[in-house]
Amino acid sequence: MPVESIFHRLEALLPKVQKPIQYVGGELNSTVKDWDSADVRWALMYPDAYEVGLPNQGVAILYEILNELPGTLAERTYAVWPDLEELMRAEGVPQFTVDAHRPVRAFDVLGVSFSTELGYTNLLTALDLAGIPMLAVDRGDDDPIVLAGGHAAFNPEPIADFLDAAVLGDGEQISIAISEVIREWKAEGRPGGRDELLMRLAESGGVYVPKFYDVEYHADGRIKRVAPNRADVPWRVHKHTVMDLDEWPYPKKPLVPLAETVHERFSVEIFRGCTRGCRFCQAGMITRPVRERSITTIGAMVDNGIKESGFNEVGLLSLSSADHSEIGEVAKGLADRYEGTNTSLSLPSTRVDAFNIDLANEFSRNGRRSGLTFAPEGGSERMRKVINKMVTEEDLIRTVTTAYSQGWRQVKLYFMCGLPTEQDEDVLGIADLAKKVIQAGREATGSRDIRCTVSIGGFVPKPHTPFQWAGQADHETVDRRLKALRDALRGDKNYGRAIGFRYHDGKPSIVEGLLSRGDRRVGAVIRNVWEDGGRFDGWSEHFSYERWMAAAEKAGIDVDWYTTREREENEVLPWDHLDAGLDREWLWQDWQEAISGGEVEDCRWTPCYDCGVCPTMGTEIQIGPTGRKLLPLTVV
């Protein structure tokens, strides 16, 4: 039976809300399929505002893949702002998809992509507005399977009670596999109801169903063990890895929003994974190994994406884009191709040591030389060794000297505060570094019109990294160091005005830390916060530290125990039953190396150091060079 669109009910509310265009859909390249043409239906959610969610590559890719799959449809849904939420509640309008404005509860799966833990409260809003019971155990056969993915799903324990299932790793193939399991189960007449469907998904070891695992605790609160509570459910759930990115050249039909979004460009992922081995970086640990897209596929995707979208900017995405084995050829080929067309290229995530001026010149050929961004992350050589970000001060100064002398005027530097073993002088070292950068720029250009911006964020220890055992710095320490750094930067008459300083206070990092390394008991805190009105926690104007602390107290949760406490080697961590492929012993050994300042090389260019991923997951490093070149295409 077709499901009615709720658009006419929504439409009456739209004149009363901010930016109504974000709720109407109708984007170029969006897909609306007949409800009855599909027997498996996905609602894909990015749990943040449309302007953040629409450019998300993960959702965009799955949206296309699932809509291409016969008998399957996928629509998108985003978090609604509080102004619309209030009106929807008053008028009884349910959470809807923006494509055909169908109620989310009518779908088979609600797939939610979590890039960050700060979207958890928005999941609860969506469930509540959709009329889906908040707790998985209360859901019936008519409710969708609530499925989490994305990086935060590598420890979904804090939201385990709200989820039916979670998937780790690349979504392309597993989302198709899940669709087929659901299709088969529905075709058989839904034998055994919801539980049997979840069992079928869980048995494979590729889908985590939290309710099939029991968590036991020691008297002191530590986890004793996490064990399946049914036969046929495996002890560990494994991540998924797509091995040939050239076979999955998505997005092919990029969504072009009408509303303004945070990234207004066509983005191509030029490789997935990173083995630089930065110890703080969860993305670099859980997405191994490196799998490059070939220069030929990148060229074809860019050509197609620009034609399909009309965007005038191309972003070459990855965790460290200058590390692509043929980045020079890619940059030159694309710059040649789009010369004179007002199409600009951008390369986010460039490492200081992988940067070279030829590359930067290619990327700025069609655009401005406004700013370059580097992320040394640590302010002192010692700190950078601890985090294994092996960028020397000489590298940085040499790089910025070249950049300034080639016409760049502004350099942005990213750092973290609160890193393991960090002392006050490590953070104050950032001020010295910034001054040296300015000095180098002045000497290189003979001009005082040189700027440098220091951006600094609080470090949060993440699961599946060598720092998963570390004690997080308390927010008082972080704030004290940031203040000292600010004084050191501002206090210097010679440099103060040339250096911009951007930072956040340390409190939000504590909440992020609680959610990152939390276990199932933290779910009560999330629920309390949500009931107290917590929404959009990733937005500083909505986030309330006090609300989170009050919610934790009410739930009997000791926030320090979850955040600032250092863990012992043998403590069972809440995510130990979730397998990112990383060998636990290697992670521990790397943590010990970190404390003693030992470095690890990149396994793309040096022998394997047994992190464990490739043999466990049956994967291998896939890099070029292919030796091919980009052919010039006729462009409009």
Partner: protein, 255 residues
């Protein structure tokens, strides 16, 4: 440099696009359609596309206008088709002509608005309109970016009539017929918008529709002094250039 004048509609759910949303969508559509748009010179080149008097966010329109500068001469009929195909459905290109002499914005003197008021009382509306038209001035206040501003909403209104028709969008909610106001309003500074006229109706006769009005601009253009009718602003271009044929004004899609 050839300049092309484009009449387009914003319809249905795409009436919620803001002016900025439309300008991004048009820039992308121009690129997708392969129209050889000219760029401004300088540090940060912008495509030469200019907009005349855009309807507010949430207001539908059958008569919005923009002008595109192109580097090589284009066939207006082909541009009409290509640009329409490249824009999302709901932003629909109705007419393209090659620009003749004279500015387009200067010709947009008057707008013809249709304001649907679901659930409003027809008799009350008629009384309010009568009182409004009988008044010499009707001072209204609107919140602008610079704070509240008071101005006369009466003088700009050249015509105001009441009729009845079907609801256009939120029909399923209320059902039944709905009151329709037609307003012919002269463009002035500060602009008098249909909202301001509704405010005026509330002030003179306490007439307040129960739900937000559904507003559509049906036409805008010069006022024919002899007939008092609203003329097509692109007719002047058609008279002076041979490139643009008087194409159909496009389908008028309700809802």
């Amino acid at each position: 440099m050839q300049r092309l004048r484009v009449r387009y509609a914003k319809r249905g759910r795409l009436r919620f696009t803001s002016h900025r949303d439309i300008s991004r969508a048009v820039e992308r559509a121009v690129r997708r359609a392969g129209i050889p748009v000219a760029y401004s010179a300088g540090f940060s080149p912008h495509p030469k596309i200019s907009y005349a008097g855009a309807a507010p966010t949430g207001v539908a329109s059958e008569a919005e206008y923009l002008e595109i500068g192109v580097t090589t001469p284009c066939d207006p009929a082909q541009v009409r088709q290509d640009l329409d195909e490249s824009l999302p459905s709901g932003l629909d290109v109705l007419d393209v002509v090659e620009a003749g002499p004279g500015g387009l914005a200067d010709r947009l003197e008057v707008s013809d608005w249709e304001v649907r008021l679901p659930g409003a009382d027809r008799e009350l509306a008629e009384v309010a309109v009568e009182k409004f038209l009988a008044a010499g001035t009707v001072e209204v206040e609107r919140l602008t970016k610079k704070g509240p501003r008071r101005f006369d909403a009466r003088q700009a209104v050249l015509g105001l009539t009441v009729s009845e028709g079907a609801e256009r969008t939120a029909a399923q909610v209320h059902g039944g017929p709905c009151v329709i106001l037609r307003m012919v309003v002269r463009h002035m500074t500060p602009a008098v918008r249909p909202d301001d006229v509704l405010t005026g109706l509330r002030l003179v006769a306490d007439f307040a529709p129960p739900v937000p009005p559904e507003v559509t601009r049906l036409a805008q253009g010069p006022l024919d002094a002899s007939t008092g009718a609203l003329a097509d602003p692109l007719d002047l271009d058609r008279d002076t250039t041979r490139g643009g044929e008087a194409g159909p004004a496009g389908e008028h899609v309700a809802g």
